[in-house]
């Protein structure tokens, strides 16, 4: 049999991907925004403690790099631990939900309650309850913010198995364990990865919110503490620099998780397939 088109299209090179409109368009918007910002501050004559110019923010970032980067790493630690906990517990809870409809019926509303309760309201309580273990308290807060998208999406995925495939597995006399491993979990993978992308950002937000509330000082203070202290001291350029770091970290997390998703799904799922021109 002859093949009319290549079965495995070549991957685009790194340079081709960077020069693509997907990268250039948002980059252009960003540059325009910075120019407008700079021009606005210059024309209006706003003092730096109200709105610093982008160049000053960058200069402050470079000057305070060591201190800010150390703080960012503290926040990153909390984020990563909370994110991993959310991913693992999220899948575990979803699998539990699908084992028995009653478990889902009884517990799902409480997952929703945890999700809809404002984190800023309960974070102080958690920090007080776990005052012996601040790191644990912060991770718990970030986990509360992050776990729900994984649970909701993965549960949906586990219940979205193709009916014919389900029949096929019944026909093969498979046990529930085999159906879970070979059918339901792979079916749920795209949904799970979608949930992860949301959870990645949320665990960072959760960590920052928790740090704000905890207000821990000393050597192990996270980036939120830097933002807080800078704004108290009217070091607004430093506050912007810290903000810039948090935002960049958030973007990096999103890009990383999107790349992971594309890598895992690129052979088979529509979401990761590049259109052939």
């Amino acid at each position: 049999m002859s093949r009319s088109r290549p079965m495995f299209p070549a991957r685009r090179s790194l340079i081709q991907r960077i020069v693509s409109p997907d990268v250039l368009a948002p980059l252009g918007v960003g540059v325009l925004f910075l120019l407008a910002w700079d021009a606005f501050v210059q024309i209006s004559g706003l003092p730096p403690y109200l709105l610093p110019r982008p160049g000053l923010v960058l200069q402050t970032l470079i000057d305070n790099w060591n201190e800010l980067f150390a703080s960012l790493m503290v926040t990153l630690q909390i984020t990563v631990v909370a994110f991993l906990a959310a991913a693992i517990s999220g899948v575990g809870i979803s699998v539990l939900f699908t084992v028995n409809k009653w478990i889902e019926r009884s517990l799902f509303p409480y997952a929703v309650i945890l999700q809809t309760t404002p984190l800023v309201a309960i974070a102080p309580l958690i920090v007080i309850w776990l005052k012996e273990n601040t790191f644990g308290a912060l991770v718990l807060c970030a986990w509360i913010a992050a776990f729900f998208p994984v649970v909701a999406n993965t549960t949906l995925g586990l219940n979205s198995v193709d009916r014919n495939l389900n029949n096929l597995f019944k026909l093969y006399n498979t046990n529930p364990w085999q159906r879970l491993i070979y059918l339901r979990l792979p079916s749920a993978l795209p949904y799970f990865l979608g949930g992860l992308r949301i959870s990645g950002g949320l665990s960072l937000i959760g960590a920052v919110v928790a740090e704000f509330v905890a207000g821990t000082g000393g050597a192990k203070s996270g980036i939120a503490y830097q933002i807080l202290i800078s704004s108290y001291n009217l070091q607004i350029p430093k506050m912007f620099a810290a903000l810039l770091m948090v935002t960049s970290l958030g973007i990096l997390i999103f890009i990383g998780l999107s790349a992971l998703s594309d890598r895992l799904l690129r052979d088979w799922h529509e979401s990761a397939i590049k259109p052939e021109s």
Binding site: N164, L168, L171, Q178, D267, W268
Partner: protein, 254 residues
């Protein structure tokens, strides 16, 4: 007369919605027979397959496996190929063996044989989305026959394919059956296909689903293109079309 393999006696199936899918259906499937079930949509032909496969139970009547060991040597081909999208062709075909606990080393040869039988050699590493509809169906057939089944249930396997692909696959399925002599129960709404492939055709009618006529196709295998063009083929076709019209009640399909 062939030795009976499966008998359905006075089987009625009522869905939970109240729809009567089958009413008082009696049918004997002979060992090694190629039996086609032909009928319009909603006549319960797929329901018969799912009853035989054990995917659902009759509301009334009995389904009896006259050759009990066949029950465990059953394979199903669905209308859509029902392949795992995340697995390659080879892994899809290996699936039933893997689920039965057969090691990769042992299954390798069986899988390769099945791939060769359906003509998918060279596409082992392709993913289902990279294949045409006809090739996906070939993979699905390979997955069904890799377990070397005694009974093969096919639910409108070629219904979604174009005529050229369908004819080619009909040809190949007939060759395979001629070689292996499985017991095949083949559901279709295509009269040409049914006459060309089958040793026997059962015509079904709607409202309620029932068998209205049975027709033996006495033509030796392997059948050729000449059979399709023959007057006899036309007579069989006419007889089936008439039976189908009866099964549809007052509605004419011609």
């Amino acid at each position: 007369m062939l030795q009976p393999a499966i008998t359905l006696s006075h089987v009625t199936k009522v869905f939970s919605t109240g729809t009567i899918a089958l009413q008082d259906v009696s049918l004997t499937v002979g060992d090694g027979e190629f039996l086609s079930l032909v009928g319009p949509s909603g006549c319960g032909k797929s329901t018969i397959l799912s009853l035989i496969a054990g995917l659902s139970l009759p509301t009334q009547g009995d389904l009896c496996w006259q050759i009990p060991e066949y029950r465990q040597e059953l394979a199903f081909v669905f209308q859509d190929a029902a392949l795992l999208p995340w697995s390659t062709v080879k892994e899809n075909i290996r699936l039933p063996l893997k689920l039965a606990g057969i090691s990769r080393a042992e299954s390798d040869q069986l899988v390769d044989e099945a791939i060769e039988l359906v003509g998918l050699t060279g596409f082992e590493k392709a993913f289902p989305r990279q294949l045409s509809g006809g090739m996906r169906m070939r993979a699905s057939i390979a997955r069904a026959i890799v377990t070397q089944p005694k009974v093969l249930l096919m639910d409108e396997p070629f219904g979604a394919l174009d005529e050229i692909t369908r004819n080619k696959l009909n040809e190949d399925v007939m060759q395979l059956w001629h070689q292996k002599r499985w017991t095949v129960i083949f559901v279709t709404h295509n009269i040409y296909e049914a006459v060309y492939l089958s040793t026997r055709v059962a015509v079904m009618g709607v409202n309620p689903g029932r068998i209205v006529d049975e027709l033996q196709i006495d033509e030796p295998y392997p059948r050729s293109e000449a059979f399709r063009q023959s007057a006899q083929f036309g007579q069989y076709r006419h007889r089936l079309a008439t039976a189908l019209a009866t099964g549809m009640g007052s509605v004419s399909i011609l």
